[in-house]
C-alpha cells in the first residue's frame, strides 16, 4: 500500500464517528476526505420522503438534483463525467449518497478503493447518529409536551385561584344574604308572636277606657285588665330578650346545651308554625344535657333553617295535616339531632344536590337556594360535624351529627 493511500485511509478512518451529531460527524468526515483526496467538492445527500436533499456541502458550493442524475439504486458506486473538466463520484451510504467532484485527471480507482475501506465504519456511524437524532427528537417532543403541560397547569392554577377567590367573595355574600334572610324570618316570627299579646293589650286598654267612660269599671275589673296588660307586656319583653340574646351572643363561642338551643329555636318559630298549622312533635330527647362548644348563633341558625325548610315544603305541597318531629340523642361521642316531616320527601333525582349553593326547588320569589347550603357549611366546616338527608316513610329526614368535645363546668 502506498504511503499516500495509507495516510488518507488513516486520516479518514480517524475522522469517522467522532461525534454523535450527524451534521458534525459527516462534516468532519467529508472535510477530511475532500482535502485528503483533493476533491473540489463533497456533499452528503439525505433521503427524504420523495427525494434526496443536500445535508452537508464541503468545498465549491454546488447543489445537484440527484433525481436528474438517473442514479441506479442497485449500484454502490457511480462514476460519470461532469462539466467537461470534472467527474462525479457518487457513493451509496446509509440513508443517502455521498457525492464528490474531482478533476477529470484524478485517480478515481484509488479513491474508490480508499472509500470502500472505511465505508462500513462510516455507515455504522451514520446509523448511530440517526438513532441518536431520533431519540433526541422524541425527547424534544416529550419535553415540549411537558412544558405545555406545565404551562397549562400554571394557567389552570391561576384560573382555579381566581375562581376560588371569586367563590370566597360569593360565599361571603351568600352568608350575608343568608343571615339577612334568617333575620327577616326571625322578625317575622317575632311579629307573629307579638300580634296576639298586642291585641290582648289593645283590647284590655280599649275595654278599660270604654268602661271608665261609661263608669262601669270597678276595681276588680281594673286589676284584671291591668294584670292582662302586664302579663302580655312581660311576654313581649321575654320575646325581645330572646331575640336580643341571639343578636348579641350570635358570634360568641361557648359551651351550650343542645336541648336548650332547640327549645329557643322552637320558641322563635312557634307562632309561624301555629299560623301554618304545623304540629311540632317532640320524639326522643336525651334527658341528660348534651353539651358542645360552639358559636351559639351558628347552631340556632341551622335549627331555624331546617324548621323553616319543612314549613316551606308544606306550603308548596299544600299538605293538610302537617307535622315536624325532632329527636335529640347521644351516640358515642356525637350529639345527633334529627328533623323529620311528612311533606312527602325530596325526589331521589335531586337529593344529592340539595346542599349545593343556589339549588332550590321553591318558587324563585320564595327560595334563594342558600338556606340548606349555608346550614351544611356551618355544620360541616364550622362545627366539624355532618349534615345528611334521607327520605323516610313520610317525608324528608335531616340528621345533624355534632362532635362532643366539651362538658359544662
Amino acid at each position: 500500500m502506498s504511503l499516500s493511500k495509507l495516510s488518507i485511509s488513516y486520516r479518514c478512518h480517524n475522522s469517522i464517528g467522532n461525534s454523535l451529531n450527524l451534521r458534525k460527524m459527516t462534516n468532519e468526515f467529508l472535510k477530511t476526505f475532500v482535502t485528503q483526496t483533493d476533491a473540489v467538492h463533497g456533499s452528503y445527500y439525505i433521503k427524504e420522503e420523495k427525494s434526496f436533499e443536500q445535508f452537508i456541502n464541503i468545498g465549491k458550493n454546488i447543489c445537484l438534483v440527484l433525481s436528474e442524475l438517473n442514479i441506479d439504486e442497485n449500484k454502490e458506486v457511480i462514476e460519470e463525467s461532469f462539466n467537461s473538466k470534472f467527474k462525479l463520484l457518487i457513493f451509496k451510504v446509509e440513508n443517502g449518497y455521498m457525492l464528490f467532484i474531482y478533476s477529470k485527471d484524478a485517480n478515481t480507482n484509488l479513491i474508490k478503493k480508499i472509500f470502500e475501506s472505511f465505508k462500513n465504519k462510516l455507515n455504522i456511524s451514520i446509523n448511530s447518529c440517526l438513532n441518536v437524532e431520533k431519540l433526541k427528537k422524541t425527547n424534544e417532543v416529550l419535553f415540549e409536551q411537558k412544558q405545555q403541560l406545565e404551562k397549562m397547569t400554571a394557567y389552570l392554577k391561576d384560573e382555579i385561584d381566581a375562581a376560588i377567590k371569586i367563590n370566597m367573595q360569593k360565599e361571603k355574600r351568600l352568608f350575608e344574604q343568608s343571615k339577612m334572610l334568617q333575620m327577616g324570618e326571625l322578625i317575622s316570627n317575632i311579629a307573629h308572636q307579638w300580634r296576639q299579646p298586642l291585641s290582648v293589650i289593645t283590647t284590655a286598654a280599649s275595654g278599660m277606657k270604654i268602661k271608665k267612660d261609661l263608669e262601669l269599671l270597678d276595681d276588680e275589673e281594673f286589676r284584671r285588665y291591668i294584670k292582662s296588660i302586664l302579663d302580655n307586656s312581660k311576654y313581649l319583653s321575654n320575646t325581645l330578650d330572646e331575640f336580643s340574646e341571639y343578636i348579641k351572643e350570635g358570634q360568641k363561642q361557648k359551651d351550650v346545651i343542645i336541648q336548650d338551643r332547640l327549645k329557643l329555636a322552637l320558641s322563635l318559630i312557634e307562632s309561624s308554625f301555629l299560623i301554618e298549622k304545623i304540629e311540632v312533635i317532640e320524639g326522643y330527647v336525651e334527658e341528660e344535657a348534651i353539651i358542645i362548644k360552639l358559636i351559639i348563633g351558628d347552631l340556632l341558625r341551622v335549627l331555624i333553617s331546617l324548621f323553616n325548610n319543612s314549613k316551606d315544603a308544606f306550603i308548596i305541597k299544600e299538605i293538610e295535616k302537617r307535622w315536624v318531629k325532632y329527636e335529640i340523642f347521644k351516640q358515642k361521642d356525637k350529639a345527633i339531632i334529627t328533623f323529620e316531616d311528612n311533606a312527602g320527601g325530596i325526589p331521589e333525582s335531586i337529593i344529592d344536590k340539595i346542599f349545593n349553593p343556589y339549588f332550590t326547588t321553591k318558587h324563585q320569589y320564595k327560595g334563594t337556594g342558600i338556606g340548606l347550603y349555608s346550614s351544611y357549611d356551618v355544620v360541616v366546616n364550622k362545627l366539624g360535624g355532618n349534615l345528611s338527608v334521607e327520605n323516610s316513610e313520610f317525608g324528608a329526614k335531616f340528621t345533624i351529627e355534632l362532635p362532643i368535645i366539651s362538658t359544662l363546668e
Binding site: 502506498s2 504511503l3 499516500s4 495509507l6 495516510s7 488518507i8 488513516y10 486520516r11 480517524n14 477530511t32 475532500v34 482535502t35 485528503q36 483526496t37 483533493d38 476533491a39 473540489v40 456541502n57 468545498g59 465549491k60 458550493n61 454546488i62 462539466n83 473538466k85 470534472f86 467532484i101 478533476s103 485527471d105 484524478a106 485517480n107
Partner: protein, 355 residues
C-alpha cells in the same frame, strides 16, 4: 491581470507620475517604505494595497519600493475589512475567471476565509495570492484601502481574464512518515505520541550535524520543513519557525490532528529546478509574463540565489518578465482541487501580455 505595472522607489517618485484617475490601483509596498496616506490621497484615485517583505519587478527583487498595478477596466476589487465578519455573495464572483486574494498573513482567520471564498466562486475559477505582512516590524495592519489600514483584513481582486496557475516548492524527503498525534491549529504538541520538538530535533540534528537550540532554531529549521502527505504523493509544506517551552513546534500554517507528514530537506538546486519546471508549464500555455507569490521563508533559504532562480526561469521558458511579491503564506488553486494556504512554496500566475 493588469493594464500596467510600474515600480517606484518611494512615494515622492510615485506622486510625480501621471496617474489615470479613472482606474483602480493596487499598491504592493515593501515594509521598509513609510506609507503616506495623506500624500496618496492627493492623487484622487481609488486604491487598495498591502505591505510585503519584498517586491519583484522586471526580474529583480527589491527590499524597498512600491509596485503600482493599474487594473483592467472590467476587473473589480472587494475589500474585506474584517475576515471574521465577512459575508459572501456568490453572485459577486460569478463573472470572475481568476481571483487574486491578498490576506493578512499573520491572521488565524485566513484559512477559514480562503475556504469561504473557495466555496462561493464558480467551479472553473482559479485562485492565486499570498499573505501580506512585515518580517522586521511587529506590524499587524498591513492591508489598506482609501479608508485606511485594517487588521485581519483581505483584498480580493476579481479578474475578467484567466490567469494560468502553477505551484512549486522543491523540498525533498529526509525522514518519515510521522503522525502529528496531538495538534492545535498551528501547533504540533506530539509527533508519534512523543514530544514534538524532541522528535524533530533528533532527525534534524542527525542530518545537519549541529545542535538544535532556541537560538539557532529558525536558522536551521528553515532548511527542514514538514511535508504533509497528500493525494498522489504530493506534499503540503508547513514551516516550523519556532518551539515553546513545552516542546511544541510552532508552524506557519495549520496542521490537523493525525496528519501524516515527512520531514523534508532543502536543496537550493532542487528548489530552483522546481520553479523552473513550473514556469515552463506556464510558458507552454503561451504565457510570457508571470506574477509570483514567493514564500519569504523559501527565499531566505535561497538567499542570493534569487537571481539564479530568475535566470533559470527566463532561460528555460518564453517568460520575459517576472513581477511579484515575497509573501507570508501562498495561495495557488487551479480549480481542480481543494484550496490550502501554502508555506515555503512559490505560486506563479501566468499572463498573456503580447497577444
Amino acid at each position: 491581470m493588469y493594464k500596467s505595472i510600474n515600480y517606484y522607489k518611494n512615494f515622492s517618485d510615485l506622486l510625480k507620475n501621471q496617474i489615470n484617475t479613472e482606474s483602480i490601483y493596487i499598491l504592493f509596498i515593501t515594509e521598509t517604505i513609510e506609507f503616506n496616506r495623506e500624500e496618496l490621497s492627493k492623487l484622487d484615485i481609488k486604491y487598495y494595497g498591502a505591505i510585503f517583505p519584498k517586491i519583484i519587478y522586471n526580474n529583480q527583487a527589491y527590499s524597498k519600493g512600491i509596485l503600482l498595478i493599474e487594473l483592467n477596466k472590467n476587473d473589480r476589487v472587494i475589500f474585506y475589512e474584517d475576515m471574521d465578519e465577512s459575508s459572501f455573495c456568490e453572485s459577486e464572483f460569478e463573472t470572475a475567471k481568476s481571483i487574486i486574494t491578498i490576506f493578512d498573513g499573520l491572521s488565524s482567520l485566513a484559512t477559514k476565509f480562503i475556504e469561504n471564498i473557495f466555496e462561493n466562486i464558480k467551479l472553473h475559477t482559479n485562485i492565486l495570492g499570498g499573505g501580506s505582512g512585515c518580517m522586521q516590524k511587529n506590524k499587524r495592519d498591513t492591508i489598506f484601502s482609501n479608508r485606511g489600514f485594517f487588521q485581519n483584513s483581505a483584498l480580493v481582486v476579481l479578474l475578467e481574464r484567466k490567469v494560468e496557475i502553477s505551484v512549486c516548492h522543491g523540498w525533498e524527503y529526509l525522514e518519515g512518515p510521522f503522525i502529528a498525534t496531538k495538534t492545535g491549529n498551528n501547533l504540533i504538541e506530539e509527533i508519534d505520541f512523543d514530544n514534538a520538538f524532541e522528535n524533530y530535533k533528533t532527525i534534524v540534528e542527525a542530518d545537519c550535524k549541529e545542535k538544535l537550540t532556541k537560538e539557532n532554531f529558525s536558522e536551521i529549521s528553515i532548511r527542514y520543513p514538514l511535508g504533509i502527505i497528500k493525494f498522489n504523493g504530493e506534499s503540503l509544506i508547513r514551516d516550523p519557525f519556532s518551539f515553546d517551552e513545552e516542546g511544541r513546534l510552532i508552524l506557519a500554517g495549520d496542521i490537523n490532528c493525525n496528519a501524516i507528514f515527512n520531514i523534508l530537506k532543502g536543496d537550493k538546486k532542487a528548489l530552483i529546478e522546481d520553479i523552473s519546471k513550473a514556469s515552463e508549464k506556464i510558458s507552454a500555455n503561451g504565457c510570457d509574463e508571470i506574477f509570483m507569490f514567493e514564500c519569504v521563508s523559501r527565499q531566505q533559504f535561497l538567499q542570493e540565489s534569487f537571481d539564479e532562480e530568475v535566470e533559470q526561469i527566463l532561460s528555460n521558458s518564453n517568460i520575459k518578465n517576472i513581477h511579484g511579491v515575497f509573501s507570508i503564506g501562498e495561495l495557488g488553486n487551479d480549480a481542480n482541487r481543494y484550496v490550502y494556504i501554502l508555506n515555503k512554496s512559490c505560486v506563479i500566475g501566468g499572463m498573456y501580455v503580447t497577444e
